[in-house]
């Protein structure tokens, strides 16, 4: 087990390095530091200010190769900074990126956690229901509804939800955010509801196949032959055995909850990491974008490792490679 853990972590570390290299190639080969500096400082900034700015942001070094000091290149600097979590300052407005991301994590989590828990609950409940009534009209219409729901663009859900629930029915504020506990739920209700509806189609379809897969297995037939009630089979046997694929889904998603949702956050004005990403796009803030992508990958890799571990823990039959 320990050897496996070490190997898994080592592979994760190698992947992180790969991501960093990819980001470097993507962002430093295509835009030049001069462009970024000009954009940040405006057209009239004198050359000395530009140089100073590039120096402050670490953009003044050779990219790959420095004959005098082989370690003094942007490539090395990029890896050093990212690996030590020293993200520096935003290209657009000089705010420390780490500080900005810290601020964004709270709002993102406060949207994502309820959305995640509710989505999971609703999707499992509905898919159990559909699987329970398999081959009846509930199942058939349920599947059709799922495909219908999946075929609608998520943008449309947001637009429709804001228009209908925010504007026509006036249940919740259309958008905005305030972290004080008294009012926070009012702002979260609508995006959570919209997110829930937008996800539920594909979620239900996924869990339904998981459950149906299980109901086809021998132990279910045995239980049924023993005269076990259908509801009992669903809850006690099928659900328990389906926990592993569900767990896989859950564990891999947990770290990425920090990342928030690009679409929901920016449309509902929630100042989380998704919003920060969109702001970075709009202001050509490459350093922030780079950092967000890096952090996202880091969390994702973490999620994968955790999943693998959870998997071996939950099902000892899984062979440790």
């Amino acid at each position: 087990m320990l050897a496996y853990l070490v190997r898994r972590l080592a592979w994760g570390a190698v992947t992180v390095l790969g991501v960093l290299l990819f980001l470097f190639l993507l962002f430093f080969l295509i835009t030049t530091p001069d462009d970024i500096a000009r954009k940040a400082l405006g057209e009239k900034a004198p050359a000395s200010v530009l140089e100073q700015w590039k120096k402050n942001h670490g953009y003044d070094k050779p990219r790959f190769w420095n004959p005098q000091h082989p370690a003094d290149t942007m490539l090395v600097e990029h890896f050093r900074r990212m690996l030590t979590f020293d993200f520096g300052r935003s290209d657009a407005d000089d705010v420390p990126i780490a500080e900005r991301l810290r601020r964004g994590a709270g709002p993102s989590l406060s949207l994502q956690v309820p959305l995640f828990v509710l989505s999971l609950g609703v999707a499992i409940a509905l898919s159990l229901l559909v699987a329970f009534f398999r081959d009846t009209y509930i199942d058939r219409s349920g599947v059709v509804l799922c495909v219908l729901a999946m075929s609608i663009s998520s943008v449309l859900y947001i637009v429709g939800g804001q228009y209908l629930i925010g504007k026509v029915l006036r249940w919740f504020p259309i958008s905005g955010f305030d972290p004080s506990p008294e009012v926070i739920w009012r702002f979260l209700a609508l995006p959570v509801l919209v997110g829930l509806v937008a996800n539920v189609g594909s979620d239900v379809r996924f869990y339904r196949t998981v459950f149906l897969e299980e109901t086809g297995r021998d132990y279910v037939r045995t239980a049924r032959a023993k005269g076990c009630g259908e509801g009992r089979i669903m809850l006690h046997h099928v659900l328990r055995n389906a926990l592993i694929p569900i767990l896989t889904q859950v564990v891999i998603s947990i770290p990425t909850l920090f990342l928030g949702s690009v679409l929901l956050e920016s449309f509902f004005g929630i100042p989380g990491l998704g919003s920060i990403t969109v702001d970075a796009i709009n202001s050509n803030d490459f350093s922030t974008l780079r950092t967000v992508v890096y952090i996202g990958s880091l969390l994702f890799i973490l999620g994968q490792i955790l999943t693998d571990l959870a998997y071996t823990w939950a099902d000892p039959r899984v062979r440790l490679e």
């Binding site: 000395s48 705010v95 249940w171 259309i174 305030d178 009012v183 509801g231 009992r232 920016s266 004005g269």
Partner: protein, 675 residues
Amino acid sequence: MRHARRGAARALLAALALPALFSCTNDPYPAADAGVKVLYQSFDEPPKTLDPQVAYSVNDHAVIGNVYDTLLEYHYLKRPYTLIPGLAEAVPEARSEGADVVYRFRLRPDLLFQDDPCFGLDGPDRRTRSVGAADAIFALERIADPQVNSPVLETFAKIRGLRAFGERLAARRAADPAFAAARIERQYAEAGPVEGLRRLGPLEFEIVLDEAYPQILYWFAMPFTAPVAWEAVAFYDGRGDRPSFAEHAVGTGPWRVAVYDKRSRIALERNPNWYGLRHPEWKAPGAVYPTEGEPDDAASGALDPARAGRPLPFLQRIEFRREKESIPAFTKFLQGYYDVSGIIKESFDRMVRGGELSPDMAARGMRLSKTVNPDVYYIGFNMDDPVVGAPGGDRARRLRQAMSLAIDSKEYLRLFLNGRGIPAQSPIPPGIYGYDADYRNPFRQVDLERAGALLREAGYPGGVDPKTGRPLHLTFDTGDTATEVLLAYQFFVNSWARLGLDVEIAATSYNQFQEKIRTGAFQVFLFGWVADYPDPENFLFLLWTPMGRSRNGGPNSANFSDPEYDRLFLEMRARSNDARRLELIREMRGIVERERPWIELFHRESYLLADGWVAPLKPPSMAVPTAKYLDVDPAQRERMRRAWNRPVTWPAWVLLGLAVAVIVPGVRTYLRERQ
């Protein structure tokens, strides 16, 4: 089995009944603020910087203008804009010293900065200190400091020795690391003094200009010249957990920043150190609501005795909430959660009928005020381009004239701006000296026939370039790829297509566009300019040769260059508003009319909506801080909000019923089958 069924059904019911379980409200604010005089406003883009010497955008000034007081201010009601003293005791007069022009400023006594930990640099437990001439001079010196990167150095370089000061500073910093590491006020003291900034006493100083430039006084009503404490600049250096000076304001104005979470919320609260609150007995012009204004101000309620002559400010707090999307922001305004708002074009027809507020909006107690902005939007030609610019000579001039004749500003305004604006005939907008309401630019009337004739004379009959045998191909460059913007550009392209010209929209990223502009690799573009101060010089300099974009990086993006125009400009700039100045402006207008470096499109008109609980206000047409003059009635606001926001809950119950109706028969069928 029964157990399971109930569990699943319960989960489903809970999910569907979710909205109904909460006592629904769409009120985005805490209940504690309901009775407080808070003004709620929205903003779309966060301020780029709070550094008064750097900030140049409307969003920056919405915060800074209220936090940093300036030496001079604009009268709240009088139009054309009139300067009144702010932190200064009086508006200075120009005095000649040989060829030099001198202005003497005297600050009010006993002015204080807002309380801030940065004054701990002066001694332990110090929270504030008095404002003096040194702070005003420090601010002016900062403009020249290359590290500050102020956008207005060009203007203030007319102060003798200011530019040289900046160069000395840069040179010493480069040569001596110890100097560069020293505290900012030591650096300035060692690199100074500036010849044109004379400190005469703790409260008095003079500025010396090399040439006459009467417009300089307007700049003293803008935050660029607002006094700044060196302690704030030294303390807020962005190291450790201290924010940078660009993110933390230490001002002298009626408000101070209480919350600065710039991506979602900015809140301003009263600054108890403001002279208006500490010395109401002064009745200083900047601290009292004016008692006189324009003739229609009395009728509009802007001179209501409830406020006229009373000490400022009226509000307790100002809340800015971020709204990236205009539509939710406007919907919230209609729900009563923002107090003032512009009109988004999508809802214009519902709000305004025939130029007036629509009856159902008026019935809600709303008020509409309209002002023509001191701005000009124009399509410019790159005058360095061989096809459309000056190297193309007579041919290119006719081409520009023809293209100008094809654009229907009125139609554009109708389609894209709900008619909010007036077609422009020259660069100078209404309300600015030199604007002539009767002037009709012969090339700004739609006349396709004449345009076609001009194209033939230019050698492009029917728009066809004889060299290629195809329609003349031009590029219309833009740095904005938003769908909406491209639609607007398409309008112009379609207009020119009617002449047979094939204009292609070259939409690139902002960086690539700026690069094209910088290197002169562009042909046609669309820009707008909003006045910094109410003087024609601020518009006509956009075509002055030394402001050329490709050569000098100035705002003359058309790279227009005409020696006669330049000569007239210099004479016009130095004059005050007299008959000769008007004559000069007319002559310059004639050159622009003939040469057509621009197709003047329109001057925008802003429509401001205010709810009934907001005291009658006078909308500023420039980015001038007015928050201290505003007032609201929170009790009335609370009543109206309640009335307007009763949630409609029946659909939740219908949905719930529907879900039950679908599920129950299924369960029944199922039970029957299995039994």
